[in-house]
């Protein structure tokens, strides 16, 4: 590895370096503001160093990492997502009476793990990235460890993530036993040979699918999602929904386009079934929830199902639709959880639907922001969520995935009901003077400014999505 190679993975190095700097700073001088600013600077520097990796061909950094246009795009998305999560967390974590500084180390480490997943081209980096992400998430979920539900969520996530990484590893071991290589590209070559398509490889792929499906919370591996979403602190929930899933999805995109999933019809059928089940299950069960975080958890299951439709669309539009939908999903999810973060405190999460009753009369700006992000999740114009869905539908039509498209439409229609239920609850006129536990922050805080920016993005990209589309078309080539 020489200097140019080193420059290409500089964002990863900067992220890792910032965590080390943070640890040292905290060891000598514990100061919340300083930690926050170091984190911000680290993330911004990592973002600025991204263009070093841009080139028109796929570049292998040793055999375990690969940097190309789509890697750089997803790295940028993850780092930006983490930056927003950090900004949204500032006031929330400040209210926690305990050690607040380590929160940012964990957040950066989780982003690093997710970024390694995005760049990985080898089972070793896949496993390492996944574990760095998971282990930091255990800590993040239980971070302000003052509530019982945090511990419960962390225990549930710990057990399930530990078990699924063991399952994933066993799958990798089976594939390695038969094919004798752990590089994605060479797995693709030797897996295509007729002698190498036996039960063990199939079992290995099945076990890998379990591991990936767990992280993405696809049906039938979704049982942890509502509990973890509800139990984790609101900014962390937003982080799990966006950065953790985004990294995994980008990895899945690379892995399965390398091994050419479309050549294997049974695997294709399996993924189509998972997509349909996720879209329908997520949307139908969300109808019966009374907790806003749980509603968003089930809606995220459905949204990952929509993303799978674009993933299964084999045409040239597929990868671009995935990229655009991920951008839209990141902005909208972070904005929705940002509102919950702003009105919650570490001692009391505002998550029950009745807590949101007539919020618009108490805090019109936040209620409007929440409404816009919910409408974008539902796909109502003019919002970026709608453009994303149209993009996915176009990709699906191009590959004639009619069953999947039908489920997408049915799912979206059901989805409108529960999103609008939250909106209607917020707009209900106040009946009597109720004791409110909601903290009503000013909009001129870090979180408020970031939320206004995200809302502006939702609307403006919904009306004029061309800039993002151009970036995506340039970065996401047919190269995986």
């Amino acid at each position: 590895m020489d200097l140019p190679d080193f420059l290409k993975i500089l964002p990863l190095v900067v992220l890792a370096g910032t965590t080390v700097v943070l640890m040292l700073v905290i060891a000598f001088w514990r100061n919340y503001k300083v930690t926050f600013f170091i984190t911000l600077i680290g993330l911004i520097v990592a973002f600025i160093t991204l263009p070093f990796g841009v080139s028109n061909k796929s570049l292998q950094i040793t055999s375990i990492l690969v940097i190309n246009g789509s890697t750089v795009f997803y790295l940028g998305l993850l780092i930006a997502g983490c930056l927003i999560a950090v900004l949204l967390s500032y006031e929330y974590i400040e209210k926690f009476e305990g050690n607040r500084e380590e929160y940012y180390i964990l957040l950066l480490l989780a982003t690093l793990g997710s970024s390694i997943l995005v760049a990985s081209d080898h089972f070793v980096s896949f496993f390492l990235g996944l574990e760095i992400l998971s282990v930091s998430l255990y800590g993040l979920i239980a971070y302000p460890h003052n509530l019982r539900q945090r511990i419960e969520a962390a225990i549930k996530y710990l057990i399930l993530a530990g078990a699924t990484s063991a399952i994933l590893l066993f799958g990798m071991a089976l594939i390695y036993t038969v094919l004798g290589t752990m590089e994605f590209s060479r797995i693709a070559i030797s897996g295509a040979q007729p002698g190498n398509q036996n039960v063990m490889v199939l079992a290995g792929w099945g076990l890998l699918t379990v591991g990936i499906g767990f992280k993405l919370a696809l049906v039938p591996f979704q049982y942890w999602t509502p509990d973890v979403y509800q139990g984790a602190p609101a900014p962390v929930t937003g982080f799990i929904a966006s950065v953790s899933k985004g990294g995994m999805f980008a990895l899945m995109l690379r892995y399965f386009s390398r091994v050419d999933i479309f050549a294997n019809s049974s695997l294709l059928a399996l993924f189509a079934a998972i997509a349909v089940a996720s879209m329908l299950y997520g949307n139908i069960v969300a109808l019966m929830q009374h907790n806003v975080k749980r509603i968003l958890a089930y809606s995220s299951i459905a949204h990952l199902g929509y993303l799978l439709v674009a993933f299964l669309a084999s045409g040239s539009l597929g990868p671009q639709a995935v990229a655009f939908y991920l951008v839209a999903y990141f902005i909208t999810t972070l904005s929705a959880f940002g509102v919950i973060t702003l009105i919650s405190t570490p001692e009391h999460e505002i998550e029950e639907l009745k807590d949101y009753e007539s919020l618009v009369w108490r805090h019109p700006i936040l209620a409007t922001i929440f409404t816009i992000s919910l409408l974008s999740l539902a796909g109502i114009p003019p919002s970026v969520g709608l453009i994303g869905k149209i993009f996915i539908a176009a990709a699906g039509v191009q590959s004639s995935l009619w069953v999947l498209l039908g489920s997408l439409i049915v799912g979206s229609v059901i989805g409108v009901f529960y999103y609008l239920r939250i909106v209607i609850t917020m707009f209900r006129p106040p009946e009597e003077q109720v004791e409110s536990v909601i903290s009503l922050p000013s909009i001129y805080t870090t979180g408020g400014v970031v939320l206004s920016l995200l809302t502006f993005l939702i609307i403006s990209l919904g009306i004029y999505p061309l800039p993002i589309m151009q970036i995506i078309a340039r970065m996401i080539s047919t190269l995986p």
């Binding site: 070793v124 255990y138 390695y176 509990d227």
Partner: protein, 102 residues
């Protein structure tokens, strides 16, 4: 020297993995659950070592070292959460920590 066929090693790894998975489902004490996850991880590690030996490559053992390291990190974070679990619930039974429903 008698060499062990790699199928035997894989079968052993499979048996260990199943034992771990079974005890993960049956056990209710958080310590035993962490132990069974450890057994599953090490079964996967054994499979990697066996596969590496079969192909005559060092990758299998490298992967095993990574698995050991990550398992240690996972358990250290896990035990910290277990301490919190005991402090809040006064029990190590994971069924006690099942209050969120819906």
């Amino acid at each position: 020297m008698l060499t062990i066929p790699f199928q035997h090693g894989l079968i052993l790894a499979g048996i260990l993995f199943s034992i771990g998975a079974m005890s993960l489902i049956i056990r209710r004490n958080i310590f035993f659950i962490l132990l069974s996850i450890e057994i599953m991880l090490n079964a996967a590690g054994l499979a990697f070592v066996v596969a590496g030996a079969h192909w005559g490559q060092p990758e299998g053992q490298i992967m095993f070292i990574f698995i050991l390291t990550m398992a240690a990190a996972e358990v250290s974070v896990g035990l910290a959460i277990v301490i919190q679990l005991y402090r809040r619930y006064k029990t190590l039974d994971v069924d006690a920590a099942n209050e969120m429903q819906g």
